[in-house]
């Protein structure tokens, strides 16, 4: 701006205006606040007008289903958790071939495929990993027994509970799988699930730090890690971007860990599916995935983006190679509704593992009936 014009603007009321642009792509997503801002910025740079709307993650599957069923204001593209895909598949369009032929990592490709078809563009891979203090030795193996042993060996006067663990059914999965149980309704009836819950609950007050406060899990866990109270922390890649000292961090795999991720899908009711797939391709592009990885240490889904990602992202990706996806059933994400409070009841001492598992069994049976 010329100086004269600047002065004139200073003395008058130079206001900004906003021009009307192209019709925005309607986008339902589950990004966090910081992720949303990065998405908005990246899409603005690419000249894509996006009308984004946040879907609460915990009720995302239900909210999205309600929106799709209502067929009003149908989104052009949706970011969903991979566990929601079986429940939503009937209302989604198959991914175009030009999208499926990209250089996806094997873990990412597995997320998007169901029943032999591609249903979307993988956007991020996640799951449970062990974030370890680099000063502490890695567990002898990926087994949970060796992990607990390593954590027990790391105990000291100032660090009595070096294992970080969340009271959540998702975190119970490695213990369930170690006892040859799983989230499937039929598997919860066996003794394996009871043993898994018992072993899991027994860690608290022993080698595992007390459960974080409900509703404040993330800040509690970060505080414990940053204050060195925890040396072995079972968590997901979504926490890596918030760590203060990445050089302190090493990553190890955990046997039987669940692996999942996020997908970009286009519903059948989309008014402009081509624009939906275009936004999906942009969000899954190497450039945007690399930016996400550099900013949040997420695990990219494209081979090229993973190669350009920070070391921590690549280490997390490597640790998740051996992880397994949760059963790909519509009911799977609903199972945690009963499993989580039951697990909390056992950890809190309000119920025995047997009592808790019996309640879960009844709840899952009801869900299974409903699913039918």
């Amino acid at each position: 701006m010329r100086p004269g014009l600047a002065i004139a603007c200073a003395l008058t009321a130079c206001g900004g205006g906003e021009s009307t642009g192209p019709v925005p792509i309607r986008f339902l997503h589950t990004f966090s606040a910081d992720e949303t801002e990065l998405v908005n910025q990246a899409m603005q740079e690419r000249g894509l007008a996006v009308d984004g709307s946040l879907v609460p993650f915990a009720r995302g599957q239900q909210v999205i289903r309600e929106i799709l069923n209502a067929k009003e204001a149908c989104p052009d593209v949706i970011r969903i958790d991979a566990t929601w895909l079986p429940g939503l598949r009937a209302q989604l369009l198959p991914a175009p071939a030009e999208l499926t032929s990209l250089d996806w990592t094997p873990e990412a490709a597995a997320l998007a495929q169901l029943g032999g078809a591609w249903w979307g563009a993988p956007q991020a891979v996640d799951g449970l990993i062990v974030v370890r203090d680099a000063a502490s030795p890695p567990p002898a193996s990926a087994s949970i027994d060796d992990l607990v042993a390593a954590a027990r060996a790391a105990r000291s006067e100032g660090r009595r509970h070096p294992l970080g663990l969340r009271v959540d059914g998702y975190w119970l999965v490695p213990w369930l799988r170690a006892e040859r149980a799983d989230l499937a309704a039929r598997a919860i009836t066996g003794d394996g699930a009871t043993r898994a819950v018992a072993k899991f609950a027994s860690l608290f007050g022993d080698v595992a730090s007390p459960p974080p406060a409900a509703g404040a899990e993330t800040p509690d866990e970060l505080r414990r890690w940053n204050s060195h109270d925890v040396a072995y922390w079972i968590t997901g890649p979504w926490q890596l971007g918030a760590l203060h000292d990445p050089e302190r961090v090493a990553v190890s795999p955990i046997a039987g860990a669940p692996r999942g991720g996020q997908l970009l899908v286009v519903p059948t009711c989309a008014k402009r599916p081509d624009q939906g797939w275009r936004l999906a391709a942009e969000l899954a592009s190497v450039a945007v995935e690399t930016r996400f990885a550099q900013r949040f240490s997420t695990i990219p889904t494209r081979q090229a983006a993973l190669a350009a990602a920070p070391p921590l992202s690549r280490a997390a990706s490597e640790a998740l190679r051996s992880a397994e996806m949760l059963p790909r059933e519509p009911v799977t994400p609903l199972l945690f509704d009963d499993l989580n409070p039951a697990l909390a009841a056992v950890v809190d001492g309000h119920a025995t593992p047997e009592e808790a598992i019996e309640g879960v069994r009844r709840g899952w049976a009801r869900l299974t009936r409903g699913a039918k």
């Binding site: 589950t30 984004g52 609460p56 009720r59 009963d338 409070p341 009841a345 309640g359 409903g370």
Partner: protein
């Protein structure tokens, strides 16, 4: 000269402008820009702070309600079959949570067990992680949200679900009670952009503002807060949607105000700054002109004085006054002008002396040639006169011849005296080329000697001699020459005074300190102004014929000029009589 002075004044003004006024204007403009920017930031900050507080109040009310219902649900789950206890619990819950519009308790299968009919569309038992607050919906035209809380027993098993319909009328009450700026409004919209409440109390309707109001689009598309300036409005927005289900209600709050109103303070600040700045600038300019004039006036006088000096008019003018160094400079130039005037006066006198000396040399040669035959004439006239007896007819003629010859000898003697006086330049440089010491004369001594010499003669006149010697600095003049001058002047004065009076010889330092002034003043009739320019010319006399040769003052002037001094005649003290003023260089 006036052009130069004017130019200097404008240059001073230009310097003042460059040094003070221009930076003041620049700083003023920057200050206005900064103030405007600050006001804009403050407007945005204030609006954001306002909607943060309102948003916290809205969210806090909902979350408090949720926690209360959760406690009730947990209590109920311990005894789900206690119908009476359940009714009491419901009544207490309605009392403790006044925004509960309807409350239902359903079993895990979704069937109603207690309370009001289950609202349609409520998701009552799956994948809600214990509960959630749903999106805003309209029931009977009223905006409400569904609060769903799972009631789980001791073992975590689901025993039932509490479904509470929360009336969002409190949102309207909250925003309408907000104290807002001029023209401002607060709007709360749901996840679809449909207004839930507005601060102006207008009917909210069911039409979405999405796609109409860019601020609503921005608010719903963002996960955080921000501001937007568009269509003449400044909007601050905050998306209240939560990531997790417990805070799952999707809505946003906006504070909007016309930019004209929001930035009124900035406009007033700009206007006031311009007025005050303009007045200050005008005052500064006026002061600048006054200061420049005051500063340049003595400089102009100095320049004028310098011009006068350069053109030979070094006589003292009125004193040049000015502040500080300028005043000192004026004093120094005044002093310098006086010294130049004195030196010029001396040089003029010296030049005149040289001229007269040339005339004197020629006159001396002529006088010398005439003197000898004239002596012969006089001798023979006297011899012839002695030979003639008394009463002889030739005797009178011979006496006339003798007396005229005597008078001619007197004239010739004066001429010889005039010519004999050595010039100072001749005295200073010897024939051999060696420098001789200039003559040094104590003026007081000469004055005393003159007094003693003339005392007898003055007693025969009506004049009395007085002396006033205030300077004893030696003078660069031959003592005999000075004595001859003073004797001549005193004798002339005595002859001029026809009534009793005083002749005063005064010796004082001349201005500038390089010469001494000697005045001879009488109380006689004075020298008429018309004669003053000629009294020093040879053979000019106002005396009666035969009583003066007209060479006395010419000799005096010649002697003084020869010494490098000057002699002038003017009125005596108090305008009475005549005063001859000699200025003679100090030795």
């Amino acid at each position: 000269m006036s052009t130069k002075s004017g130019s200097l004044r404008w240059r001073v003004l230009l310097v003042l402008a460059l040094a003070a006024i221009v930076p003041t204007i620049v700083v003023g403009v920057l200050a206005i820009m900064r103030a405007r920017d600050d006001v804009q930031k403050e407007v945005r900050r204030g609006a954001l702070a306002h909607i943060r507080a309102l948003g916290a109040a809205l969210d806090g009310t909902l979350q408090d309600s949720r926690r209360t219902v959760e406690l009730a649900a947990a209590t109920w789950a311990d005894a789900p079959d206690d119908a009476r206890g359940t009714q009491l619990l419901i009544a207490r819950l309605r009392r403790d949570v006044p925004i509960v519009h309807a409350l239902s308790i359903v079993d895990p299968e979704g069937s109603l067990r207690y309370g009001d009919p289950v609202p349609s569309g409520a998701d009552v038992g799956s994948h809600s992680f214990g509960g959630y607050v749903g999106d805003a919906v309209r029931v009977g035209g009223r905006p409400v949200v569904q609060l769903v809380v799972q009631a789980r027993g001791r073992t975590g098993e689901l025993m039932g679900v509490f479904v509470a319909t929360l009336d969002l009328g409190f949102v309207r009450d909250l925003v309408t009670a907000a104290r807002l700026g001029e023209g401002a409004r607060v709007v709360v919209v749901d996840g679809a952009g449909v207004p839930v409440a507005t601060s102006d109390g207008a009917p909210i309707g069911t039409s979405s503002l999405a796609g109409i109001d860019p601020a609503v689009d921005r608010a719903l598309g963002s996960s955080v807060e921000g501001t937007l300036s568009a269509a003449g409005w400044i909007s601050a927005y905050r998306n209240l949607s939560g990531y997790q289900s417990l805070r799952g209600v999707r809505w946003a709050i906006l504070h909007q105000q016309p930019e004209d109103e929001a930035y009124a303070l900035a406009r007033r600040t700009t206007r006031d700054t311009l007025i005050i700045g303009g007045a200050a600038l005008a005052l500064a300019l006026a002061l600048g002109v006054w200061f420049a004039t005051r500063l340049t006036r003595p400089l102009a006088a100095l320049a004028k004085r310098a011009d006068a000096i350069a053109t030979g008019h070094a006589e003292a003018g009125p004193p040049i006054e000015g502040p500080g160094e300028i005043g000192v400079l004026g004093q120094r130039i005044d002093e310098m002008a006086k010294r130049i005037a004195e030196r010029h006066e001396l040089q003029t006198a010296l030049a005149r002396g040289d001229r007269l000396a040339s005339v004197g040399v020629m006159s001396a040669q002529v006088a010398h040639e005439i003197n000898n035959p004239l002596t012969t004439v006089l001798g023979y006239a006297k011899l012839l006169q002695e030979d003639k007896p008394e009463g002889h007819p030739d005797r009178a003629a011979l006496e006339l011849i003798a007396s005229e010859a005597e008078r001619m000898k007197g004239i010739i003697g004066g001429l010889l005296e005039y010519a004999r006086t050595p010039r100072q330049s001749d005295m200073s440089i010897a024939a051999a080329g060696k420098l001789e010491a200039p003559p040094i004369t104590e003026p007081a001594q000469v004055v005393r000697h003159v007094g003693a010499l003339l005392e007898p003669a003055l007693k025969k006149t009506q004049a009395r001699l007085a002396t006033d010697v205030q300077s004893t600095k030696p003078l660069a003049i031959d003592a005999h020459a000075l004595q001859q001058v003073l004797v001549n002047l005193v004798q002339n004065a005595a002859q001029a005074m026809t009534s009793p009076g005083t002749i005063t010889i005064a010796v004082a330092p001349a201005p500038g300190g390089i010469a001494t002034a000697i005045t001879v003043a009488d109380e006689g009739p004075g020298v008429p102004a018309k004669d003053r320019a000629r009294v020093f010319d040879p053979f000019f006399t106002t005396k009666a014929a035969g009583s003066g040769t007209g060479l006395g003052l010419a000799v005096c002037k010649h002697l003084i000029a020869t010494a490098g001094g000057s002699i002038e005649v003017g009125d005596g003290p108090n305008g009475k009589g005549a005063e001859f003023r000699l200025v003679i260089p100090n030795a």
